[in-house]
Subunit: 173 residues, 2 copies
Amino acid sequence: MRVLGIDPGSRVTGFGVLDIAGQQQLYVASGCIKTPPGATLPVRVASLLDGIAEVCKHYQPDVAAVELVFVNVNPQSTLMLGQARGAVLAGLVHAGLPISEYTALQVKQAVVGNGHADKTQVQHMVQRLLRLNGLPQADAADALAVALTHAQNAGSALKQLGSGLKMRRGRLT
Amino acid sequence: MRVLGIDPGSRVTGFGVLDIAGQQQLYVASGCIKTPPGATLPVRVASLLDGIAEVCKHYQPDVAAVELVFVNVNPQSTLMLGQARGAVLAGLVHAGLPISEYTALQVKQAVVGNGHADKTQVQHMVQRLLRLNGLPQADAADALAVALTHAQNAGSALKQLGSGLKMRRGRLT
């Protein structure tokens, strides 16, 4: 299964692609979609849609995992972030991907083992878990961390199934 | 020219379609796109995208006019509204429509002549200006008001052109 992790932002949206192979997570790619500075909102939405479409077309992920947004103190920033997030989700829906959402707390807990870890710790653990040669860029690291969180969750759901839990209509019972 | 006016909301998104024929604005249609209550965000984004696509396919507008969102006191509501707005803009970008944005102040000024008019006044003026038999439903009225605002702006830009202003590369100089 190939997972596309996304960390949406009003200026920079990070993405990270992983393959889950059994208990292993293999790094495929990561990067960021930058929206043109000073552009109007419709232009920024269009560039996010184009970016997401390109990433989906190029890497052909099976599922998407998106970070649930931290509500900012500044209402205008919160609105901007919400708009970017809406556009990103629209791009993923358009690409036909199932979407899971994870809070920053869940992501830090899954990757660092501490819900209050800082950005640098997340970067270091992403590098270690994915055996990368260098430290990934911050936005890409966050996106890879979301993808890793999904990989862990998907893995543990399968493990639970294996240990005797039952599914009915696609749900664990 | 056919204008699609949109009033985005996290639960209900109003739309209104007008034809501009010279100085006249002719009512074509209006209604609202409701997102399933209690649904997850990806499902709500998908239903907004489907709704916008259906309206664009059915009424074939030439341009879209969207109300600029009022920043709410509640950060969570602001985020939800932003996400809905991002999805709506994504739908319009996807339909290939040029998008204009108007603040609530501009809309009320254009339709009622008073930037601090209330919702009921907007509804009544929309009914009068478009010679409707009944009072339009509130979300539809707001969307029609945004479309009317765009019609007035488009009209006055043309009038200015006629009165001796020059355009260069598509811009007034």
